[in-house]
Amino acid sequence: MASDTPLLDELEKGPWPSFVKEIKRSAGKSPKAKDLLGVVEQSYKDKITHWKHGGIVGVTGYGGGVIGRYTDIPEKFPNAEQMHTIRVNHPSGWFYTTKALRTVCDIWEKHGSGLTNMHGSTGDIILLGTDTDQLQPAFNTLTENGFDLGGSGSALRTPSGCVGPARCEWACIDSPHLIYDLTQTFQDELHRPRWPYKFKIKASACPNDCVAAIARADFTIIGTWRDSIRIDQAAVKEYASKGLDIENLIVARCPGQALEYDAKAQKLSVKPQDCLRCMHCISKMTKAIRPGKETGATILIGGKAPILRGAFLSWVLVPFIKVEPPYTEIKELLEKIWDWWDEHGRNRERIAETIGRLGLKDFLKAVDLKPIPQMVYHPRSNPFVFF
């Protein structure tokens, strides 16, 4: 018998694990998953999406956490008529016990399609495809089992952070704890959209930025240090003797020209004042070099995707801040930022766009920060200066 999904079947071939196989696995048990397969096959045929603009659906007391979704071909695929997504806030660092994961699976077997994204690109567990009447029961069971929803809409979005000190030797801050604490503190902001637009927080515990915070978070926290990198000369010798070309691959690539290598003595030295804390030498010689001891974070503001004034990378806002529970200073800063943005931001305007429109000066005043050269690559070149 000819397959109903000849196009998608093509995507079961090849070495990379197949999402089509996964949908088919669920389709065996879930009519919704089965009809989803049909809708997607139809898209592959028609070369357009068959999902309509989502309607407003949700759970009691929350303004977000659910993405409503309906197909435009319900007549062909009635079980896919409603295909809502539930965003479930992940535990910091995406660590799970199998018990917790199995619980989520069981809930989703009962209340949804059995399909998920592990994870969404903001970091949530995405439970993909259910009906309106299943939302509240699914939510109730989730919270009974210790899970809660993530963000959507013009709200704080699910914060996320890198694995940090849980498994990384370079962590300068406790990213999992910080993210957990901020998420708990700002539950209201997460669940009840009331701002001009979305707001994202991400934390990486060192400048390698393993959650791509600088590009994707309105409020970016990146671990760093204020003193000098620490060099273990014995370990340097070991790298040298194992053939690492320290001169060309480490020293010459240092963006601050902060390193000097004495090839004879196999000794590496640093001018701490020239180090830009880029992580390169540390990453490549991890047994010999580590971050300094006086650790904390740089806070940057405004990262976002291109809609609507163009993409922005986050900009330096606070060059150095200590990061210790209960993180009062960071929380106060966030509140000030939100207050200003809430008051001045236009509808669908990310914080970077509001700052771009009104100027960094006004923003800095509102959040009680002094202008410093670290905030800019270089001062202005134009003479159009307000006094």
Binding site: K13, E22, I23, A305
Partner: protein, 354 residues
Amino acid sequence: MARTDIGPPDYRLMLPETITSNYGKWKYHEILKPGVMKHVSETGDELYTVRAGSPRLVSIDFIRDICDIADKYCDGHLRFTSRFNIELMTPKKENVDGIIGDLKKLGLPIGGIGDCISNIVHTQGWIHCHSAATDASGLVKSIMDELYEYFTEFKLHAKLRIAVACCINMCGAVHCSDLAVVGIHTTPPKVNHEKLASTCEIPSVIASCPTGAIRRHSDKNINSVEVREERCMYCGNCYTVCPSMPLADPDGDGVAIYVGGKVSNSRKPPMFSRLAVPFIPNNPPRWPEVTSILKKIVEVYARDSKKYERLGEWIQRIGWERFFALTNIPFTEQHIDDFTYATETFRATTQFKW
């Protein structure tokens, strides 16, 4: 009444024992082979991590399969990475081969650690989003099939991060990826005049257009809007605001390829990805034109770059004029910026290569 605002589970309850007792005490790590690394603690403890690729869109049965492995070897713990990969961790070296064997049995690739291509950060596409100009999951599958060995082997001089987004909302760090595939429309929205007035606020629709392409319909009897097509660059913002302005078009939709972005602060500051191929029409189920041009870029980069040089650093060193020459990608008027900061991209020096 359901509990609300409880927040996510406390991550501390999710950590394996070895992590709890060595939290913040890690001293160094070593990459032992593709997909396997060892972290060593100040305490002397060791932790072995095996990383496996995942299609991200997975069934609960898939998750349960992974859980079985974690129960067998990892005391019932596991994690996911910021790029959707699965990580199984154990303090016991002797468990590593078992984990790898069981993952392979499930058909999962082992790799993604170190100087290689990791999993593709991607989005919903035709699976779930109304905005999609292409599919994400199908593109990812096709690309990773083509570049499979770059995930499972060390064939590069640095990490190479790929992202796929199904529209220019770019859900993911697409704008700062070594290679980015972005769904785009190339035809203006087709206004549904019957429904528009009842479904959308006309002033908001007009205001939503960044280029001012939308105005009230010139026929006063039609309570709707019209699009000055020559001003439209198909961003879809009007559609986000108003369902009666759909852009999806079987022939006009496809993808663009952006290259050379990065996020880490290592060596060079973060960089945006920049336009390499303006438009490739959708060709499901396998988008062969897309996968072959990506492979070409990866191969040229692998050959021509220096050790530890990310794709964008390589291009910065050789120059874009050389990049287009080496990859045989034609340079077109679309490559030249005409958005807000366009003039900042114009070359204001006689320094260039022929």
